[in-house]
């Protein structure tokens, strides 16, 4: 009896496994169709109408950031938004109180949710709101800032990594406002995989949720929740099931029980508007993630033979950022060879495949990240990712590599001082000379700061770039790279935004400028056929997950990692580099311990370098895996 029962259970399990494998295979092939886009928009329209919303914008993107449709409810009046953290910070402080077409908001929200999510985690713009504020949780006194503080200024329109232009094509693609923290953006799922995102901008405020102990009834979020019907993420991977430091992320303050409608309204195709530089008029189907046309696909063990990693594709089948030798310094002058760059990325991804994910479910999932390696002049030498890494990490990993590099270079003080006052909107928005940040740094860290070759990891940069110093503690002023809290907000972070705000603002008129390299910092002095990127050519990033690369005492590049918890990102960068160094034995490796930023007391407090996570590896009880390395 029991034997037959067991046998039949085995049969069932086997057939189940077959079905699961089949489903998984077909799930990978999911994408948003034109009908899906219409349905999502139609559902939003019905809910908006039920709530008396006369105007607003709804955007749908695919997973790699192609705009599948930007719908405006009333095309006779262009809906607008106002950027506001809700803290009464006046116009003239970063993006605060700036008025913009609402389509930019809806677009940024859709793209944010699609970019932050994966098959292991469904994150919304409310999730983003939770992790970019001055404390985590927002309002919890004394707690350090959001773990992804600064991520809102990634996916910038000026990024040299992201694909540019209005036409549908390979991703990942840029966002007009970076990532959004304004509730009302959700990822769209089909068959358990993320196929895109929807963003709603109807309440006119592009803000964030600073008060997380209550339950908002946010108009954008209510409409987006209605829009989402039929495309909901699996319950078990939603942000509110995933913990960091024992706290769950937030997904939504509303659910379908709060929604008035359940049938879509008819869409008017004429209301799918053009957004210059981002999307043509009309709507279209999304790409299938993982195909050549999506711009993100399996490597097929070509460039990284030992691993099942994915790489970026130019849409024609050619790998973007295939491993190559450094342009500056060239390998003969101590720079990274192609093999070294490839080995560092491989070893980092090897760590990722072993690492316990912090932001993914089910439990026991490994981390999914993107890894970038740059040379000493910010040229990308190698970039690859694990298959299901959230897309935002592609751009962010490169930002982190370049940022760690920038702060570790001895020329940064002078280069920042060279950027004088920038008048962005005469009489309204002016940025003071960036030398003030150097002054503050030198006051905190010492007169030689940013010119003495101290090795800064991204975590160290983050320590200095928060509105409170030490991070999270009120009453002692701001970090030297941040604005004072009276005018600081996630829309006005400090040096990070000041470096790129000019470019963001210049593009908001809808002009289709080609990427200019984001910042006014000098171009890399690298000999190459095309002009090299500027120092921080896709923007400065200010949260953990990147370290500089040295050969002995020579700074020769940096590695950046993004996609999982910041401790995981740290470890993958730091330990990946360490392991590669061991394997290569060419003198390449982490910064010598004596010149790392954790030897520096900034305003009486030691900076951190990296923070490798608790129980870092799956199936292992190893702890303290980074000490002494």
């Amino acid at each position: 009896m029991s034997r037959t029962l067991r046998f039949s259970i085995r049969q069932v399990l086997t057939s189940l496994a077959v079905v699961i494998v089949f489903l998984a295979a077909s799930a990978q092939a999911q994408h948003l169709t034109v009908d899906d886009v219409d349905r999502v928009v139609g559902q939003a329209l019905a809910e908006a109408a039920s709530r008396g919303v006369s105007n607003g914008s709804i955007a749908v993107t695919d997973r790699v950031g192609n705009i599948l449709g930007v719908y405006v409810i009333d095309t006779s009046v262009a809906p607008m938004l106002t950027v506001s953290s809700g803290r009464g910070i006046p116009l003239g402080n970063g993006l605060e109180q700036i008025e913009l077409p609402a389509v930019f908001g809806s677009l940024a929200k859709a793209l944010t949710s699609a970019y932050l999510s994966s098959s292991g985690n469904a994150f919304s713009t409310r999730t983003a709101s939770l992790i970019v504020q001055e404390n985590f949780y927002p309002g919890e006194q004394g707690q350090p800032g959001g773990p992804l503080s600064g991520v809102q200024f990634s996916q910038l329109p000026c990024s040299d990594l992201l694909q540019f232009g209005s036409e549908f094509g390979p991703g990942p693609r840029r966002s007009p406002l970076g990532l959004s923290a304004d509730p009302g953006g959700f990822p769209l799922y089909k068959g358990g995989v993320v196929v895109g995102g929807v963003g709603v901008m109807a309440d006119g405020t592009y803000g964030l949720d600073a008060m997380v102990s209550d339950y908002d009834r946010n108009l954008d979020e209510l409409i987006a929740t209605a829009a989402l019907r039929g495309f909901e993420s699996p319950v078990d991977i939603r942000a509110n099931r995933i913990t960091v430091e024992g706290k769950v992320f937030r997904y939504s303050d509303v659910d379908l029980a709060d929604v008035n409608t359940n049938t879509p309204s008819l869409v008017n195709l004429a209301n799918y508007v053009k957004v210059a530089g981002y999307a043509p008029a009309g709507r279209r189907a999304g790409s299938i993630f993982g195909t050549i046309t999506s711009g993100v696909r399996p490597d097929g063990r070509r460039d990284y033979p030992a691993l099942d990693v994915w790489v970026l594709d130019d849409g024609q089948g050619a790998t973007r950022y295939a491993p190559r030798a450094a342009l500056a310094p060239v390998p003969a002058a101590g720079g990274l060879s192609a093999l070294e760059a490839q080995t560092i990325v491989s070893d980092a991804l090897t760590i990722a495949f072993r690492a316990r994910a912090q932001i993914r479910r089910p439990l026991g999932s490994h981390a999914q990240v993107t890894v970038s390696v740059v040379d000493a002049e910010s040229n990308v030498l190698s970039l690859a990712r694990t298959p299901d890494a959230p897309v935002f990490g592609v751009d962010v990993s490169l930002q982190k590599a370049r940022s760690a590099l920038f702060f570790s270079r001895p020329t940064s003080a002078a280069e920042l001082r060279a950027i004088g006052q920038q008048v962005l909107i005469p009489g309204v928005l002016t940025i003071a000379p960036l030398g003030s940040y150097v002054d503050a740094m030198q006051q905190f860290v010492g007169p030689e700061a940013l010119s003495n070759g101290i090795a800064y990891a991204e975590r160290s940069v983050g320590n200095l770039a928060r509105p409170f110093y030490p991070d999270g503690l009120t009453g002692f002023g701001n970090g030297p790279l941040a604005r004072p809290y009276s005018v600081w907000s996630p829309f006005n972070t400090g040096l990070q935004l000041d470096l790129v705000l000019g470019d963001i603002v210049a593009r908001l008129d809808g002009s289709e400028r080609a990427p200019q390299g984001c910042t006014a910092l000098p171009q890399a002095s690298s000999p190459s056929p095309t002009p090299g990127p500027t120092r921080l050519a896709n923007g400065l990033q200010i949260f953990a997950g990147g370290v500089p690369i040295y050969r002995g005492e020579q700074l020769i590049g940096a590695i950046g990692v993004s996609g999982d918890g910041i401790d995981q990102d740290d470890m993958i960068a730091f330990l990946g580099l360490h392991n590669a160094a061991q394997r290569l034995a060419t003198g390449v490796g982490n910064a010598p311990a004596a010149r790392r930023a954790d030897t520096v007391a900034a305003s009486g407090v030691n900076l951190r370098y990296v923070n490798c996570p608790v129980t870092p590896f799956l199936g292992s009880r190893e702890q303290r895996v980074c000490v002494g390395k």
Partner: protein, 587 residues
């Protein structure tokens, strides 16, 4: 010995009284509830003996101020410095009328060495090269409490409860802690690795009024109002604290039945001393309870007790509460961090005593009720969670000459799914377990912060339950917890009359591991916390309680679940231990 002197003194006093009113016939000995004894004729007086004093002759007596001071005539002098012998300040004699004063002072000095899981300061490390979450674990604590107590008591306390008592017990605390990492002692990493603190707490401030006696055996009803000690069961499993309240209590049937009925509020505690604070807002938390003890049931020597308690917590409406070191205590930094209150009812059946040679303690609780906002499911609106949890503990022991052998077992139910709306983890109101080695064990004595899993402790200081509270002092009960399973054995060796050595070995594990798995986003391979081994000595050089020296050492051999969570002994961590030196001087 002091007790004997009091009895002697009282015996003398009553003898004298008998002489003073000796005009009537001698009365036979009478005892309440017993038939009067028949008089017996005395045997013939030996004519060779000295004749007894004649009854009617004037007696040769020494005049004394009152009956309490009679023993001065035999040379016992009142020495107010001597707490052990006859002392007016120790309520051995009235100060006026039948009012007594009892002064007490206890110096409790603890020096503690320990190693427990310690994180590196998040924003700033104490030293360069700290590149992992787990930092260096050695810590030491010096803690000095000076407990002073003043009682004013009306009524002769020898045979019956006092009629009225006023008591004030202030406690002065000084503490000094040293750790190896920043942001452990204070949330501000600049506060460094040392912390010195002091506090004065009022641990007792009550009036106790003896309402009535209801039998010849002095069965009574009393009421006590104010800050007073309260223990709801024999071993402090559910609640043992000093809090303000009203308690009606008494005995019946020749003390065979004892009852307590009460209502208590809870004062905020001082974070570092655990003493009561004044001036802080009283916590929005109430305890209603009734318990009933029955002695000699089912056999002579065993006392059973039934208790019903209702803990009504309304702190879900309060602003967030941070302790004096800056850490969030309420709501717990856990799950959605939504503020929440709860109504929890405890029904308990406890017992303590012996069945023949077998000593036994047992405790069983069921806890049920509601949490107003489940911190894991309150996503789009507050979701209630039903508390359905239970607890059982038993400790049999047997004495073999100077050796007592003990076994101990405890089970507190755990929650297997934080994302449903049942809270199946047991938590106490304010535990202070006198069990399994109590504070001499590592697990009970030391807090184990759930590093990387929230601003909570896996188990709190002086607590046994794996309950994921922020702290015992400030935290709310948490019923979404892994639960606790303890199995162990111990022995007490009375090596000398003045020296006892105890040893305990307990295995501790979680009842369920899912809650911690969710909090750490990490699968656990085992529920085992590990083996807690401890040795403790109590040395009373003068055989009395006025000078007690205690020393103990404990260590935790991490089990599989613990090793999954923390850097434990081996290449990545060190052995966690707890060493205590404790000197108690009592006046």
């Amino acid at each position: 010995m002091r007790r004997q002197i009091i009895i002697l003194c009282l015996a003398l006093a009553s003898t004298q009284q008998a002489y003073a009113t000796d005009d009537q016939d001698e009365q036979a000995r009478r005892r309440p509830g017993r038939p009067e004894q028949e008089r017996r004729d005395l045997p013939p007086i030996d004519p060779n003996a000295i004749a007894p004093p004649a009854r009617i002759l004037p007696r040769e007596t020494i005049p004394v101020p009152d009956r309490w001071r009679i023993i001065e005539s035999v040379g016992v002098k009142d020495n107010w410095l001597d707490p052990y012998n006859q002392n007016t300040l120790k309520a051995d004699r009235p100060v006026f009328d039948d009012w007594f004063v009892n002064l007490a002072a206890i110096s409790d000095t603890v020096y503690e060495l320990r190693a427990l899981p310690t994180p590196v300061g998040f924003q700033s490390s104490a030293r360069a090269g700290s590149v992992d979450v787990f930092g260096q674990e050695d810590q030491n604590v010096f803690n000095q409490n000076l407990i002073t107590s003043l009682s004013l008591i009306k009524g002769d306390t020898a045979f019956k409860p006092p009629d009225l008592e006023f008591r004030l017990t202030p406690v002065l605390n000084y503490s000094r802690v040293k750790v190896q990492e920043d942001r452990v002692l204070k949330i501000d990493p600049r506060a460094g690795t040392k912390r010195t603190d002091g506090h004065i707490g009022i641990q007792e401030l009550f009036v106790d009024y003896h309402i009535r006696n209801i039998s010849d055996r002095f069965d009574f009803d009393s009421i006590r109002v104010g800050i007073q000690p309260l223990t709801l069961d024999f071993r402090g499993f559910l609640f043992q604290d000093q809090q303000p309240g009203i308690r009606l209590f008494g005995t019946r049937d020749n003390n065979l039945w004892q009852y307590n009925i009460g209502w208590f509020k809870r004062l905020e505690k001082d974070t570092n001393s655990g003493l009561n604070t004044f001036g802080s807002k009283v916590r929005d938390d109430e305890l209603f309870f009734a318990n009933l003890y029955h002695q000699d049931f089912p056999v002579v020597g065993y006392t059973v007790q039934g208790v019903f308690a209702y803990n009504r917590n309304r702190e879900g409406n309060d602003k967030p509460f941070y302790d004096s070191n800056g850490f969030l205590q309420r709501p717990a930094s856990l799950g959605t961090e939504r503020p929440s209150g709860y109504d929890v009812y405890y029904a308990g059946f406890n017992g303590d005593g012996h069945f023949g040679r077998l000593n036994l303690t047992h405790s069983i609780y069921a806890a049920f009720g509601d949490i107003s906002a489940n911190s894991f499911t309150s996503v789009t609106r507050n979701e209630k969670a039903k508390i359905r949890s239970y607890f059982a503990a038993v400790e049999p022991s047997m004495d073999f000459d100077w050796i007592r052998l003990r076994a101990q077992a405890l089970y507190a139910s755990g929650d297997g799914n934080p994302f449903d709306n049942h809270a199946r983890g047991f938590d106490a109101i304010f535990e202070n377990p006198q069990f399994a080695g109590a504070e001499t064990s590592f697990w009970i004595r030391q807090p184990v912060p759930l590093i990387g899993g929230g601003g909570v402790a896996m188990s709190v200081r002086n607590g046994m339950l794996i309950n994921l509270r922020t702290s015992k002092e400030h935290g709310q009960s948490n019923f979404i917890n892994p639960g606790t399973v303890l199995l162990g054995a111990g022995a007490d060796f009375d090596v000398l009359p003045e020296l006892r050595i105890s040893a305990n070995l307990n295995h501790i594990s979680m009842a369920k591991k899912e809650v911690i798995e969710v909090l750490r986003n990490q699968p656990l391979t085992s529920k085992s916390v590990g083996w807690d081994a401890s040795v403790a000595t109590i040395y009373r050089p003068t055989f009395i309680q006025n000078v007690v020296f205690r020393a103990s050492a404990a260590t935790l051999f991490g089990g599989g679940g613990f090793k999954d969570l923390f850097a434990v002994d081996g290449d990545s961590g060190k052995r966690f231990y707890s060493v205590l030196f404790n000197l108690i001087l009592t006046y």
